[in-house]
Symmetry: none
DNA sequence: GATGAATGAGTCTTCATTCAT
DNA sequence: GATGAATGAAGACTCATTCAT
């Protein structure tokens, strides 16, 4: 999106978009608020009419992105009844979302961990909600007698998120893009579905 | 280790130990070199007799820790012939190492990603070596006809590392320690072994 | 000029004036940027809105001062046709300018030489322009048959500048002011005019 | 002189020689004591067995050099009876001494002014002694009825020193060495002798 | 006397945030 | 609401000097 096109959007959105781009390029701590302001084509001070602080930009960026991701994940699995199909869809949507939004992927994978507020103080409800969808799929499959009941949902959700997260990170940072996102999705689904199916 | 005990160690080690603790507590960017110096019980300037810069402390901390981890992982699987046993051992050692060294775990999981040098410029040979052990176990199992040949080692190693990494992170950051490390190891092994076994 | 009066000037000028005073008092290397800021009644950071670095303040101070000096010297000799009168005027204006601006004199005489940039890397166009006026006066006199043609302008300009520079320095640093500026002017003119006149 | 040859000298001399070289290359404020120590092939701490401080090295360097210069100047004019010959000799010796000792010249011309102690606090007896020789030559000529009695010795000595100093400085810093030292000597003598002769 | 590892005071510069316009 | 000039706190790093060996 060109800076010109961006200017028709409301300032809140322009700042979030600019921050996403700058954070992805420089990392959170090495990004300057003035740089974000310049990219968003607003004055430095204007940022503070829409956000409380630099940290708040990152938190908002994360929450709004997660909202969008969660909504897309939910809508993708909404009409599926088979937990296995839900799992396959979840994995595919997660990896494709990040592929389609390179900046967001970099921010979430790499920079999100840089604000102390996030990892330690911030309660991170959105992330909990994301994980809840995952454990929900497992539990549903266990109740339906498809998935192994010995798998603990609280551990499974972390394991699968970690795998998807790492695959995304390495894909985003990789220059050669040796594997396609489709291939990655297939492989992750193969291992995790076989890993939890009752047989 | 008390500050007193620490003082018998050579200064390089004292500084690395102090940095590990401070980085874990405050995060890389929020840690002051003067704080590390104080914790190591040396003068600020002494740090620069042993390290080129603050970044260099983090890089050295990572490399020295990875060296130790890789050595322990290698020695743990060295005498095992069954790839499945190697996988189980690898998972157990990885998770237990981090449990036994809380500061190191926090630094590797959370803070390591904060130096631009690391994620983008730094080649990260140590990490490649770590991943190579993992893909090696998979390949060996595939050659022995135990593991599914369709699993791509380049994707598998990332997937398993991501899962272990996320389990470690959440375990380290978790206050309640709801699950034991042993339980986590068992679950990860269960899913990944079933996921890649030929049946 | 009191700090209060100074405050009506634009910040660039206030900083230059403050630097002139502080550099004169402490010397370039012993002057703190924060001290200049305090004297200029601006915040430390404000300095960096107007100058790239501490070195840049000194260079700007020099260039702006030389501009003023050169302009005054040029305008002083502009309407004179006799090279001898030009010489007398040049000497008088040079010495009086420094007398009227004690801080500037100290900075130019003593501190200017302290920035490596100046003496070795910096091309110093302004100073070349200053010297060019001097050699111009000699050449004009030689062409008019008044001055000795054997005197080399390239050496003469340095000789006279050196003499004026040293007289100024010792006058500025002298506590007793044993000789008046007028007396100094007269003596310098006497020696140099007799020294170069054809007779 | 090679570092090896230098090692046969006593440490005081080795340190002074090293400082002369380093100060000339980097300037006083940008020279590190450790660099001088390395060049002198002694330990950092050894410097402080022979000199009180970094400033003290510069002061000693200056005083010892001036002693040598003054002695050479005195001995050069000692057997001359004609004040005009003394003047010619003085000028020639001054300029040649600096030509033959490039490092010393740079230090005296450029770096000497960088220590506050020198220009403001330090009484600078050696320099006074140097100037005293100059005013002595003028006075002797005036008493003998050769030089113009209206020239004030206190101003004349500064004027001539300034001229010689500036000629040396520009000669030392000049890359092309457009004029020879002999040519410079001749020109300075020409102007100053004609300038003060009674006719 | 000689060493050089250790010290720690000192400062330029950055940049998130504010506020007068 | 919007601006952007101004603020000033904060910190990595340097290097003259010391002192235990």
């Amino acid at each position: 999106m060109s800076k010109k096109d961006n200017n028709v959007l409301d300032k809140h959105t322009r700042i979030i978009n600019a921050a996403e781009k700058i954070f992805a390029k420089r990392g959170f701590h090495n990004s300057k608020v003035s740089e974000i302001a310049k990219e968003a084509d607003v004055a430095d001070g204007t940022i503070y009419l829409y956000f409380k602080s630099k940290d708040d930009i990152l938190i908002s960026l994360f929450e709004e992105s997660m909202d969008e991701i969660i909504q897309k994940l939910k809508s993708a699995i909404k009409d599926l009844s088979d937990p296995l199909e839900k799992l396959k869809s979840f994995i595919g949507v997660h990896l494709n979302l990040l592929k389609d939004n390179r900046y967001l992927a970099e921010v979430i994978q790499v920079e999100l961990r840089q604000s102390n507020k996030f990892m330690k103080e911030y309660e991170n409800e959105k992330f909990q909600e994301y994980l809840y969808i995952l454990s929900g799929i497992l539990k549903e499959g266990q109740e339906k007698g498809i998935f192994d009941k010995e798998i603990l949902p609280g551990i499974f959700k972390r394991m699968l998120f970690g795998a998807l997260d790492e695959i995304s990170t390495s894909w985003v940072l990789s220059k050669t893009k040796k594997y396609s996102i489709e291939e990655c999705s297939k492989q992750v689904f193969k291992v995790f579905s076989k890993g939890i199916l009752l047989k």
